[in-house]
């Protein structure tokens, strides 16, 4: 059966831009975006006049569904470099966290290891209907998690282990990438470093520029890590990226992505000293792609919508701010072919709001659609009647 969504204002996040159009869905995929699509007899019709249709929202940096946050399941801290660890083994895909995301319009999340390790392992992208018995992993190796600064320092240095300083963090980071390079150059045969084969294999697609490194860093850590990565042909995102102001040009030149957030904390004294959405605007003006992150459960998942709203208040155009919670996180986690925009051929992961999120303060989710199925609808009778 096909689903026809009629009459919404469609923010495609693609070439079509913002259009008043109908969207036709079949077998979990978008098959047409055009005005006045004529329904066939069997089609399920969703009357969405007055609503805004967006690609399902995505958060590119979360720790949701981890079986037990408190016991530190989030980071494997027996060694500072654990590139072959896969977060998938720590996730409870039946967790209610995912159902909550669905209700807030977030249809995909990138789940990653914590920030205690210099290199923490592999992150995944999963659709948030996974708790409904439909686990669908969009990318089982969406990124390689890395972390600079205070977190590895305190996780290891405090126990009298290395790294205790930023110097040692970057030395180990460089040494690992160097070891992967030598390993690759030998045709993946020779191991000349102390790393295990599986650890080096994990780094191969990273050095090939296929899997981005997702680097927890703020302030001067950003500058230092960009300096190191000039020597390697890798793709990467700077995650958190607080205190960006002095480094905007350097970031634009590096060509990396930025995953900004979580915001909403008080002005602290250390890494969280400057969380300023004017930085997001500066990055946008320099052509840097920024995605908003909640770091959930650090912040509640829907906070990405509020962060996009803060970006709008800081002067970022609304459409661009919405790309920060749809297209850009999809692009920087290797999922752009499947999700992130409303185009024929892409997955029918869609969300209908009663106002434009990031602009209209009252905007809330009316319907969430994942792979063509309505997985959430706001149960106000009047609205429910609109489904025939």
């Amino acid at each position: 059966m096909r689903l026809l969504i009629k009459g919404a204002v469609v923010y495609t996040m693609a070439e079509q831009g913002v259009v008043h159009a109908d969207v036709l869905v079949q077998d979990g995929k978008i098959i047409a975006v055009a005005p006045g699509i004529a329904p066939e007899q069997e089609d399920q019709i969703l009357h969405a006049e007055g609503m805004y249709l967006l690609p399902g929202l995505m958060d590119g940096h979360v720790h949701l569904g981890l079986m037990d946050m408190e016991s530190g399941e989030i980071s494997e801290t027996t060694a500072p470099v654990t590139p072959d660890m896969e977060i998938e083994y720590s996730v409870d895909f039946a967790s209610k966290d995912f159902t909550y995301c669905m209700k807030e319009g977030i249809t995909s999340v990138c789940i990653i290891p914590g920030s205690s390790n210099i290199i923490g392992g592999k992150g995944i992208v999963v659709k948030t209907n996974c708790a409904e018995g439909k686990k669908e992993i969009l990318n089982s190796y969406a990124c390689m998690k890395a972390a600079m600064g205070g977190n590895p320092q305190s996780a290891f240095g405090r126990r009298g282990k290395a790294p205790a300083t930023r110097m040692e963090i970057l030395r180990q980071f460089r040494a690992y990438l160097e070891a992967v390079r030598l390993f690759t150059e030998s045709g993946e045969r020779e191991i000349t470093s102390a790393y295990r084969r599986s650890e080096l294999l994990a780094g191969v697609p990273v050095l090939e520029g296929k899997v981005p490194i997702k680097i927890h860093c703020t302030r001067h850590d950003m500058a230092a890590v960009m300096q190191v990565l000039k020597d390697f042909p890798v793709k990467y995102t700077l995650d958190h990226a607080w205190g960006t102001a002095p480094y905007v040009d350097q970031i634009a030149e590096a060509g990396c992505g930025v995953m900004f957030g979580p915001a909403g904390c008080y002005r602290g004294l250390g890494e969280g000293r400057e969380i300023d959405f004017r930085d997001v605007r500066s990055l946008y003006e320099k052509g840097v792609e920024v995605a908003m992150i909640s770091d959930a459960p650090l912040l509640s998942p829907e906070s990405i919508i509020y962060e996009a709203g803060e970006a709008v208040s800081a002067g970022v155009p609304v459409e661009e701010a919405l790309k920060m919670i749809t297209l850009y996180p999809a692009r920087w986690t290797g999922c752009e072919e499947r999700i992130g925009s409303i185009e024929p051929g892409k997955d029918a992961d869609l969300v209908l709001f009663n106002g434009l999120p990031a602009r209209d303060v009252h905007a809330r989710v009316m319907y969430t659609i994942i792979s063509g199925n309505i997985v959430y609808k706001m149960m106000i009778e009047e609205e429910a009647k609109k489904i025939c």
Binding site: A263, Y266, S300, V361
Partner: protein, 384 residues
């Protein structure tokens, strides 16, 4: 003296906004009306702009935390029931001003003692810009802060022998109140330590009671039923089932930060019911503070947006952001609405911030002085 001309005035009383001029002198609003003329005043043209009462966050730890130290200044450890302590004695103007709450339109806060003691101390209302407590403290009767929830017990068991459960925390406070009341009824002279409790029992000082779970709220309301204490619920994430009772007893609710730690995700927060309560007379406010930690100024507005999503109208949102918290902090005679005689604590926005995120603050005034002007485009030669 200033006259703010041609702005759209949102009083905070729930009225529909109307275009008017505001005359400000001696730190207060002297006149509100059309076509005000005052030759000696500086005129500022606010055509196309919206004027609101400054927002008030009724619970704020920033300003008495001592951020740079591991020894926090808002949680004393000498004992558990400490009504003699005053947040203002820990107050650091520098720390509060550093948060730049005023830039976002928050002009006053209730500085609060922390969440680890059944009674942690006396709160203080103050404005968010200034250089010293001397000028920043607002007159009024700020609440006493109490904590009757499980996280208090979890914290206190680390180094205190008692109480070990939230029940005994509440019980200790109720017992003290009962015995003080008995002394009062018998007309006896009260010992000095009893005086703060007398203030609670006479209703002079309200009790800001931190609770979050439904069971904690039910127990608090039940055990306090016989006592004439003016309660305010703080945190209060699961307060919705009690809305009717709270309206009837005129018990205000300060909804704590819902973003940090995914507070909203992990609790049963029924925002639609709370909003429905507001429409029936519930005095609701929001805070960027949680029970133990403070989030930043943005979360104050995110919380309001959550209420807007669930049916709170934009003018009701102004009341929730300014008028209600002023009432809760006992400073409603001073600030919280735009009315003649009140302090000129106000914000000028380029639209309605509770409608559209493109509306940004243009100017923020505290006690009749502009404390912040966006790119100094508003007015001429105003010193910041």
């Amino acid at each position: 003296m200033y006259v703010l001309k041609h702005g759209m005035v949102h009083t905070g009383n729930g009225d529909a906004p109307f275009p008017a001029d505001l005359r400000i002198a001696d730190g207060r609003i002297q006149e509100i009306g059309r076509g005000l003329v005052c030759p000696e005043a500086e005129e500022i043209d606010l055509a196309g702009k919206d004027i609101f009462p400054g927002c008030i966050d009724p619970v704020c730890y920033m300003g008495c935390l001592n951020l740079q130290s591991i020894y926090k200044d808002h949680n004393e450890r000498k004992g558990m029931i400490l009504p003699e302590l005053r947040a203002e004695d820990s107050f650091s103007a520098e720390e509060l001003v550093y948060q730049q709450l005023y830039k976002r339109g928050i002009t006053a806060v209730g500085i609060s003692t922390g969440g680890r003691n059944p009674v942690s101390g006396r709160m203080m209302a103050c404005c968010t810009a200034g250089s010293s407590i001397k000028d920043m403290k607002l007159p009024g009767t700020a609440p006493l802060r109490g904590n009757f929830l499980q996280s208090t017990y979890v914290l206190s068991r680390q180094d205190a022998p008692y109480p070990l459960v939230r029940g005994s925390a509440l019980q200790s406070v109720v017992r003290i109140l009962q015995s003080v009341r008995k002394e009062m009824d018998a007309g006896k002279e009260l010992a000095e330590w009893m005086l703060p409790f007398r203030e609670l029992l006479t209703g002079e000082v309200p009790l800001m009671a931190a609770v979050e779970k439904e069971a904690e709220i039910r127990t608090l309301l039940e055990r306090m039923k016989e006592l004439p204490v003016r309660l305010i619920l703080f945190g209060a994430y699961e307060a919705a089932p009690f809305a009717e009772e709270l309206i009837e007893k005129q018990i205000p609710v300060v909804l704590g930060d819902m973003a940090s730690g995914s507070g909203k995700m992990y609790r049963k927060v029924e925002l639609e019911k709370l909003v429905d309560g507001v429409k029936k007379g519930l005095v609701l406010a929001v805070s960027a503070a949680g029970i133990q930690e403070n989030a930043g100024r943005d979360t104050f507005f995110w919380n309001l947006a959550e209420l807007r999503k669930n049916g709170l109208s934009e003018e009701e949102a102004v009341t929730v952001a300014a008028k209600n918290p002023a009432k809760i902090l006992g400073i409603e005679k001073e600030t919280g609405t735009l009315e003649i005689g009140k302090r000129a604590d106000l914000t000028v926005f380029t639209g309605h911030p509770f409608v559209n995120r493109t509306a940004v603050p243009e100017a923020v005034w505290i006690q009749g002085k502009p404390v912040w002007l966006r790119e100094k485009r508003c007015g001429r030669g105003l010193a910041v």
